[in-house]
Amino acid sequence: MSKTSKRFYLYFFLVSIGVAGALSFYASSSPDGLEKVAEEKGFLDTAKDSAVSGSPLADYVVAGVENERLSVGLSGLLGVLITAVVAFGIFYLSRKLGKGVKN
């Protein structure tokens, strides 16, 4: 990979970390479009807790980290890192499968 590509991808990654790790704290906490519609029209109570609602990252906070800013930011940072690992894995797997089909 060329030096300019490396620098471009590094910036792209750093912006994502900044957004998930720091900016996310300032996001609106109002319910999103779907949840608002469910609340107003009266079917929000049909929602069930996710089977993984006890996950240490549930609801974008890190279990045990009391400080809200830190907790949300840390969950965002972890989410970014995990997404990077899984996404790169999937795209390299796709390319590997694609080569297998061609040959």
């Binding site: 912006v15 479009g33 609801d59 974008y60």
Partner: protein, 225 residues
């Protein structure tokens, strides 16, 4: 709760309907897994991975749209413009999978519903809109970015319509399906404006620095050459 829930939880839609959309989602993801390989090379594969990363991050930023309502980026048009529809489907599916499994956002039985609406429907609507507008709009960076933003705006009510359809088929609530459909569409038209703005800014930034890596733009240059 600081970050509101972003996706369909378990329970809204019954299990048979969720299962049907789960199978549909699987089929489209399998097609994407094969199709993405044809569009990715050593230079653009990192962009595909980073697109998923950026979408995860950007979805955490809920923006206010009306009193007591927020919206957030889907990222379907953004991903489609940057890496093409197959890789966009994979990127969105990775994000939804991680959110459902680790962040308890979007139900586990509802994963197929969410993947169908956001990774499949919103992505392919975006792809079709971008292809159509590229023929009409000026064939330069501005025309392409504008096409992407318009696709972003349109893709959000389509994703909302996807939910309305799922609710009509298997909603567990007692509210009439047409009431839900009207409410979903009217709310999500406003969220689509936010989607268009964020998509416009992001694609502008990428295309200004590295237009050679952008799938939709590169394709057009090849046609001209």
């Amino acid at each position: 709760m600081l970050i509101p829930r972003l996706h369909i939880p378990d329970g809204f839609i019954d299990i048979p309907t969720s299962a049907i959309f789960g199978v549909l989602a699987l089929v489209f993801v399998a097609i994407a897994l094969k199709g993405a390989a044809r569009t990715l090379d050593d230079r653009t594969t990192p962009l595909a991975g980073l697109t998923a990363v950026f979408i995860f991050a950007a979805q955490m930023i809920n923006f206010p749209v009306a009193a007591g309502t927020s919206g957030h980026l889907v990222g379907a048009a953004l991903a489609t413009a940057l890496v093409g529809p197959y890789s966009a489907t994979l990127a969105l599916t990775v994000v939804l999978g991680i959110q459902a499994l680790l962040f308890a956002d979007g139900g586990l039985t509802a994963l197929g519903l969410n993947v169908f609406n956001l990774s499949v429907l919103a992505v392919w609507v975006s792809h079709f809109v971008i292809l159509t507008l590229k023929r009409i709009l000026p064939k330069n960076k501005y025309g392409f970015t504008l096409a992407t933003a318009i696709a972003a705006f349109i893709s959000v009510p389509f994703a909302a319509a996807g939910f309305a359809l799922q609710y009509a088929l298997g909603g567990t609530g007692t509210i009439p399906a047409d009431t839900v459909a009207t409410a979903m569409l009217s709310t999500h038209v406003f969220i689509g404006i936010g989607e268009a703005i964020i998509t416009f800014m992001t694609v502008s930034a990428v295309i200004a620095s590295r237009s050679d890596l952008v799938y939709g733009y590169k394709e057009k240059l090849e046609v001209r050459a």
